[in-house]
Structures are given as C-alpha cells and as structure tokens.
Symmetry: C2
Subunit: 456 residues, 2 copies
C-alpha cells in the first residue's frame, strides 16, 4: 500500500522532516522486532509530544491507515510488526522522566524511557519500579506496559498491572484521555488503566504513565537449591510459596537446561534433576531470618544441595547457570520458539512431565526454565533444521492444549502479539473474546490500531 499524498503531507506537518521517514532503510529498521518476523511499514514517525499522537490518529483514521506503536521492539511475539503496513510510531525520542515523587511513591514518565534508565534514576531516592524484564537495559516502559511485561521480581512485587497508577493515552478514536489516579487507591469509575496495560497497542497509544514505586530493600541474598528431580523442585516451590516470606525471585531450571548450560558454561553450573535460584530481599537485621524461613521451605524430599551465596562473586557464580542458558540455546537453534506459558504452581510437575512427553512425541529438543514462583515457565523449542521446525510447530498446539488442561494460560508476560493469536480461542471462551472485541470497537472503531494482533 502507498500512503495518500495528503496523509504524507500531514505527517510532515505534524512531525517535521527530521522525525518522519519513508526511506527504505528506515522502514526496514522498523519492520521487525525480537520475534524475527517482519513486514515493511509505509512510514516511520518519531513522536515527542502527546498532541502529535492525537493529530496522527485523527489523520490515519480519516484514511483508514494502520498505526503501530513501538517502544524498542524487544517483544518476542511480533506485537510491533506492521503486518498490514501503515505507520510505525516509535516512542524512542519521547523519553523524559517527568517527575520522581518519593513522598507519594510515584514517578511520571514518557513511554520511551528505558526500564534500566528509570531504575538508575530511582535508585538515589531509595525506590525501584518492580517490573524488570531481563531486557531491562534496552526495553522501554511503554513496551512493558503494552505487553504487561514482568520479570523475576513479579513473584513478590507484581506485574505492570499492579505497579501503575494512571496513564495518559490517545484512543483509536483520536481522543486523548487520562485514566487512573496519582494515588495508590481509587474507586472512581472503570479501570481503564489496567485495560490498556497488556492491550499491545490495540486500544490506545500510551503517551504518559504514572508508575507506583516500591522502596528498595537494602539487602539481597541469593540461594541455589538442586533437586533429584523436577517433581521435588516443584514441590519445594509450592512449600516456599505457602509460607509468609515471599522471595523476590524464584527461578526454575530443568535438567535439560542445566545440562546445556553446563556444556557451555562450565563446571560452575551444577548437574542435577532440577535447580531453583532463589533471591530473598529485606533489611540487614531481618534478612538472615528471611533466608532461614525460605531455606527451611526449600528443604525437603529430593533436595540435593542448598547453597547460600556469601559474597557478590558467589552470587554471580550462582547465577551463571541461568545466564549461560540463552547463549547456549542460540548455538543449538537460531530459530528457537520461546513460549512463556503459566500454570498454577501446584501443576508445575505435570506441566514439565507433559513437556517431556511432547518432546519425545514430536522429536524436538525442549528446554524449560523460568519464573516458578508464578508458575510461569519459559519453554523453548529448539529446532535445528527445517524438518524439526515443522515438527516444533505441530508440537505447539499440543503444548498449549496441555497448558489449558492444567488451568493455565498462553502467556505470563510476553503477551500474544502475532504469534500466539491463533491459539487465543484455546485459552478464552467465545463469549470472553466477543466482549474483548466489543471493548476494541469502543476504543478503536475503525480498527486502525495495531491490526492483526492479540485478538483472533
């Protein structure tokens, strides 16, 4: 599709020549995201002000041209790939931290602020913003909100939905609006804030966010527990989550993943049936007893070794296994399929057993690790060639059916985007989907916001 000349003129008027491009090179750079899917947009614009978005949406609405909001494209689901062409709106230049307000435990930011930059700016005030995807140095707050991206600390501190007070945004109608409050409590009308969070740019473009801050505990201890088998580790997870001291990370790594990390990361990575990486935070005079409480819960049938890191170096060594995983996987399969399903914690053993059977049935290598405290596992299918790739895709449908049968859902923190859209009807009832379509129509009557994503 070619953009109408009048729309191109409008884009130039709104954004200026320096922030608006139809060059092939620029379009190519914004054609793909971390999903490795790609599709060329017709133009790329770099927004800096809320008012520009209002004008843009009105203009695009007139011409029925798609708008795709984009943070830094670190999502793995194709949520920012412009499958129907249109205009990619990059928020990378709208990246000011507008206010840090420790007294009210909040920060007001533009969506292009990088997660890592925000954390650095908050640190001197003694606060942090809990959502911390592993991509935090490169991913934007806007992207975190769009996908409800979380990370290991979610087990204790919640996801963006639990850590955002209010938003400013522009709906697909072209109307700018504010939702939520500057307070930690509110019962004034419908919760549009949470509705936008996780909607992947299909309802509105977020132009400002008021984030709820959490005081940063001054101490952190890292534990590593190895178990005879997956089931023992999963039972330990349930025991840990049933006692009052909630760890700030509770990561699971299965035996296949450990073997892989060991092969690539060396002997510092233990070999075991399964491993838990546990982090406990707190204040200096409470940390020891918190570590004791969590350690007691981690012990039990099947525990092989429990180590508490005594120094920063030891902590680094304990995390080496987890960190060695991503590079190790890439050496096997450049085309890994990375799912992030979630099941109730008590169903983790069944999930891991089921994955093992599917791996055998479809003859595909599957490596499993992730945020066990939330039942959120990263399940990586690692096809090495085209034949395996085809088998991996066949395996996916079985895999999602397994997850749903365990009362789980398709995604814990990556979202749906392009790649999981076809499976939505497995996870959600037709009536639920129909209400979601109704909400979509209320916010975006012409369907111009990120078409082809999230809803089937």
């Amino acid at each position: 599709m070619k953009l109408p000349a009048s729309l191109l003129d409008t884009l130039h008027t709104i954004f200026g020549a320096h922030a608006c491009s139809t060059d092939d090179a620029e379009r190519l750079a914004y054609a793909y995201d971390n999903s490795r899917r790609h599709a060329l947009p017709d133009a790329v614009v770099f927004v800096q002000e809320h008012a520009q978005i209002e004008k843009l949406v009105l203009a695009c609405r007139e011409h029925r041209v798609p708008i795709i909001a984009r943070g830094r494209g670190t999502n793995t689901t194709g949520a920012t790939v412009p499958v129907d062409g249109g205009i990619v709106v990059s928020f990378e230049r709208m990246n000011r931290i507008l206010r840090i307000d420790p007294d009210n435990r909040l920060a007001v930011v533009e969506p292009g602020v990088l997660n890592g930059d925000l954390q650095r700016a908050l640190a001197p005030h003694g606060f942090f913003w809990p959502p911390d995807p592993t991509s935090s140095p490169w991913c934007s707050i806007g992207g975190n909100l769009a996908c409800n991206s979380a990370g290991p600390r979610t087990v204790k501190y919640g996801s963006p939905r639990e850590n955002t007070l209010g938003l400013r945004a522009v709906a697909g109608t072209g109307e700018g609006f504010r939702s939520g409050t500057y307070t930690s409590k509110g019962a004034t009308g419908y919760d549009l804030t949470r509705l936008l969070i996780g909607s992947e740019g299909t309802l509105a473009l977020i132009t400002e966010a008021t984030l709820k801050l959490t005081p940063k505990p001054s101490g952190l201890r890292t534990l590593r527990a190895t178990y005879r088998d997956v089931s023992s580790a999963a039972h330990a997870v349930a025991r840990i989550m049933a006692q009052p001291v909630t760890p700030c990370a509770l990561e699971f790594i299965d035996d296949v993943a450990l073997k892989l990390a060991h092969d690539h990361g060396g002997d510092s990575v233990p070999l075991a049936g399964a491993m838990l990486m546990i982090e406990v935070d707190g204040e200096p005079d409470t940390l020891a007893s918190a570590v004791d409480a969590v350690s007691r819960a981690a012990r039990g049938d099947g525990l092989e070794e429990l180590r508490v890191a005594q120094s920063a170096e030891e902590t680094q060594a304990l995390w080496s296994a987890r960190k060695a995983l991503s590079p190790a996987q890439r050496t096997i399969s450049p085309n890994k399929i990375n799912e992030d399903v979630v099941v109730p914690v008590s169903r983790l053993p069944e999930l891991v057993d089921g994955i093992r059977q599917l791996s055998k049935k479809h003859d595909v290598l599957i490596v499993t690790f992730g945020h066990a405290g939330n039942g959120n596992l990263h399940v990586n299918l690692l096809p090495r060639d085209d034949a395996e790739r085809e088998r991996a895709h066949a395996c996916l449908a079985d895999f999602f059916a397994l997850v749903i049968s365990l009362q789980g859902t398709l995604s814990g923190e990556h979202g749906i985007g392009l790649v999981k859209r076809e499976f939505m009807s497995l996870a959600l009832q037709p009536s639920t989907l129909s209400l979601m379509h109704g909400v979509k129509a209320a916010f975006d009557p012409d369907g111009i916001l990120n078409p082809g994503k999230l809803l089937p």
Copy 2:
C-alpha cells in the same frame, strides 16, 4: 412500573417460588442500602447458580427491565438502590467457598460469601484475603469486588483490584464468560477482571471469583503517635511511606475527630492536634526491627507521644479512639455525609487545611479521619438540622473541587454509586467518560444493568 406477566412467569420458572418475590415487605427490605436512599424494586430474586443469571439477563433484556446486583447492601453510595425499579438480584444465598488452594495461593468463592467468613475459613491455612472493609463481618465478597472496597490494610496489601486473579460473570448481553487466570501472572488479552472490579454492577453480574491469597504474618504490633498539628502528622505519614517497611495500617485522625471521640469514649482517647494509628506486621524475629524502622520515621518535628502497645489489652485501648468515632458521629448527626476522597499523601496537609476553611465558610461541622497511608480520608459532614443539611450539600461541590485541585479523586474505596455520580465530570475528562460509556455499551447494550449509577 409493573413487570410484564410473562417475565414474572419466567422469574418463577428460573428461581422457584421460594427464591422470587414481589411482596411489598420483601421489596421494601431490598429498596435501600447503607446510603439510606431508597427506591422500590419490582421484584427480588435470590440467585444460587450462574445459569440462573444467564437466563435472568436474557429475559430482562427482552423486556428492557433493570437488574440490580446486590451483596449485603453495606455500600454507602446508593450503588444497590433500584432507582429505576426492576429486579434486585440478591446473592446472599450464593455463598459457598468453592475451593481453598494454599499451594496456589488462591480461593474460589461465590459472590455471596461474607468477607469475615472467608477470612475465618482461610485462617487455619495461614492465609488471608487483604481487602477488609470495616464492615467485613457483614459485607460480601461480591460487594467488595463491585465497589473495589478496600480498608486499612490496603496501604500494604492493595485493594480488590490487586488481589483478584479471575472472575466468572454474566454481561448485560446475557452471555456468561470467564476472565483472568488461576495464576498470579497473565498476559493473555485484555484485563476484563479489573474492568469489572469497581464497576458497581453496571457491566456484568459476578457469579464466581478467584481470589489471590496472602500468607498471614504471625505477628502484629500497634503504635499510636500523637502530633502537635495536622501538618506534623501528615509529614510523618510521608516519612513512613518513604522508607522500606510499609505498615499494614496507617490511620489518621484529626483534632476535631479526637475531641469528639474523647467526649464520647473517655480519657483513654488522647487529645492532640492529630493522631496516627499505625500497625506493623511480620514474623516474630523481624517484627521488632520493623517496629523500630516505622517508629524512627514516625518521630520528627511535632511528635508529642509515641506509644507501642505491649499487650492485646493495650492494643484495644489504642484503637478505642478510632472505634469511638462512628457512634460519636451518629449522636451528632443521624444524616452524616460520609465521603472517602483520596489525594497524594504529600497533599494531605493542604486537604485538611482546605477542609477546615470549607467547614468555616459553610458553617458545617466536618470530622476527618481515615487511611492516611493511601491519602484516603473519610471526610464526614455532620449536619444537625435541615438548614445545615442544605449548607452541607453546598459545601460538597467546593470540597470535591478542592480534592481535584490537589490531584486527588472522588473516591478511594466507597465508589460512586448514586450519590457521587453528578461529580464524575469534575474528576474525569469528557473523553475518559466517553470511553467508559463505550465500554458500558459493549457489555450492556440495552443499559439494563444497574441504571442510574456510576456514569453521569
């Protein structure tokens, strides 16, 4: 309005004679709620099964007859008063706790379960559900969800929106649906769960809730701090909220309220410029240091006395002032107007000063106390006769304008209902309200669910 005979027949078929009434006495009993407003419904039905609600909504939709969902009517905003007649659906008989699942930190309940009954059932498992309105012995979970009702523990543990994983419900279309997950993390489509929470029965009738449980700390300490003036107390609140140990209650009581409580509750109630009641929870070996941290923050300019209760009796004595307030107010004004506005914590001094000026300007007694940690104050206008009642109503508009000017909002936990609906356009932009109307139309195209509430 008289219900069509065919609809009455349908009601009898769905509910049976024992759970469906058009008697005057029964209708009168369900005509009012804790707002003391009232309006007669045309019928009252007592639901016990999800399927009954699906049938009821379809039948009422056909005849365009209003449906008003009702828990126990403890709300203070008229949210369950059937202003346009129609059918009140009482959930009091749909009150089973379906599942308590400590391994997955969740409970599945029917909406008629009383908050207090749920807490009692959870206690042996070592868990609690954080929302605890002061009416917890008599209010239902369904009502808590409908109004996003919170309570003192919100400051540490959040409101129903932060403590609910999923819902089953019936939309105004007549379609039953499920939202959310059985897991503590999810990024599978729009967040309809939070959208329903706080929607006061205007979008759907909730028939089942999956609640997120929190391990119950085994220890609790109560502190009482009195200050020279409101401003000193408000600054102490900001200091307490800026350090890492978050109290599980942080209640503020102004001098007018203290004087009132002292007059009625006796000398155990201190007289001071303002008072904070602070509760800190934790495990036995961490509690002392948590109390120390909060005490350090509570100290500062203007502190007059800081007492830590050493026994259950002393705790009870410390709370006596707070508890004496409600009966004391009733002796002054049987028609008290109880608002629960919320402002950023740092704006509390300005709010309390402003209230004082309005009290003078309109010559109305105003008593202020509430959940200071969230900036959520209960502001009680106490008119003693008709003339004062008229002045109090005039004062309200000024009061809400003050709250909005301080970046606050109309309600922290009571909701909007009937009584604050006219002020919604003060708090929300026309564009925000228009999107809320769009959402309403998607869920309830014929406008039969709780008409006349929440949205202006």
